[in-house]
Symmetry: C2
Subunit: 243 residues, 2 copies
Amino acid sequence: MKNEKILNVSVDCVVFGYDVATKSLNVLVIKRFLESEKEVLVDDYVLTGYHVYQHETLDDTATRVLKELTGLTNQYKKQFKAFGNPDRLTNEKDLIWIKNEEFNTRTFTIAYYFLLKTDDVDLNKNEHQAKWFPVNNLPELGFDHKKIITEAYEDLKTKCLSEPIIFKLLPDKFTINDVQDLYESILGIKIDNRNFRRKLINKKYIIALDEKQVGVSKKPAQLYIFSKDVYDKMFQKNYLINI
Amino acid sequence: MKNEKILNVSVDCVVFGYDVATKSLNVLVIKRFLESEKEVLVDDYVLTGYHVYQHETLDDTATRVLKELTGLTNQYKKQFKAFGNPDRLTNEKDLIWIKNEEFNTRTFTIAYYFLLKTDDVDLNKNEHQAKWFPVNNLPELGFDHKKIITEAYEDLKTKCLSEPIIFKLLPDKFTINDVQDLYESILGIKIDNRNFRRKLINKKYIIALDEKQVGVSKKPAQLYIFSKDVYDKMFQKNYLINI
DNA sequence: TTTTATAAACGTCATCTTTACGTTTGTTTT
DNA sequence: AAAACAAACGTAAAGATGACGTTTATAAAA
């Protein structure tokens, strides 16, 4: 950008976590936090993000941000959009949060989302006041972070229809109904269990284990795993034109 | 980015143009150009791009870049990925092209692609030495621009299967075979004409005109238009899980 | 021990979609 | 008038989907 403003490039992360027990798709956010001379201000929630370090790729930054927030590495991640409107940090409500030197700063953010299991995250292990919120019941969010989450969610909705990323949100061993519940959570729809079940069981990469649920008070369900190996081997792009 | 390097944020544009006559999907690139004190250097081709102005959104920058290159506005555009690897401009071959002050610069680019008709572009109207190349037969490209084009193309391949963006590449009036040819060009596959034809004709938003091809030396084909109105009206997200 | 409640799992039929071909039609050129 | 040929139409089998009924296995209650 050829002008007087200072540029700032950061990565913001939308962390989606699914809780198979409560069937709820959540987003991890932190309390907005500012130490001034006089006091510590805390109000809305925001996404976690950070500046891109000098020798880092954008992917590396996203990985670092997730690790610092959750302790996790090797989670599914996707860069889905860049945000950089000139006014994106200057809603009236946000002005107090902008440090003086930042008034003259143009901030771009490359947004990523992660897919993982809420159970894998220990919220006490980090210094942020991180908290899960259901994706359909988010708190007030600072800056343009509501919009960023909404766009991440839209991308997830589309992508889960054509790629087996759904399994990144589930434990290794799952039941057919777990998968159905998750699709219903993400897409906000009801699916016929008998048809869904038939469809999934017919996939060669959904493999039945010699194992059933334990500790349930009804007929225990068959457990399955998703085999990425089988999926990759049999995978051939199907060019189904569906417009 | 909290470090000494100067930051630079630009938008690069991959302009896809389809030529219905030759059935070829092309990319518009320009000669790489540098005026030094002694001489004018020209070698490889590169994508067009420019810095993001102070009061501009990223979308505005992309629109401006396209207009400056082609004179066109209101073309289909999509932001598909940000590129920002620390080494993305410093291949050995590229070093000569980096101005002195840029050695200490970290450059991010937000990449867009456009869909339009080659016929709509008058290449003589701009100062660049712009040239169309078939997407499967690109010239040597500077920086990481080959990679950027490849990723744009991948996105287009996926997206044309689930959204009617194909019609952005065709003239308003087209034949069924035009559409088939275009899908075959983009996807690099052969499609059965009889099945494809039936499928397309059954779509309510593909509307037959009272008009046929003229000036062809065989049976002239029926002309159709795509009705965005009908498409939007009847559109309801079909949640076909196709994993 | 038997019964009951209930989620899991299986089954069926009609309809729509896709795949793989063969056939006819309409226009221009010979 | 005939030939050439792309455009356009047709058909049957296989596969996928949608809608819905039935059976089964388990834990908890009686």
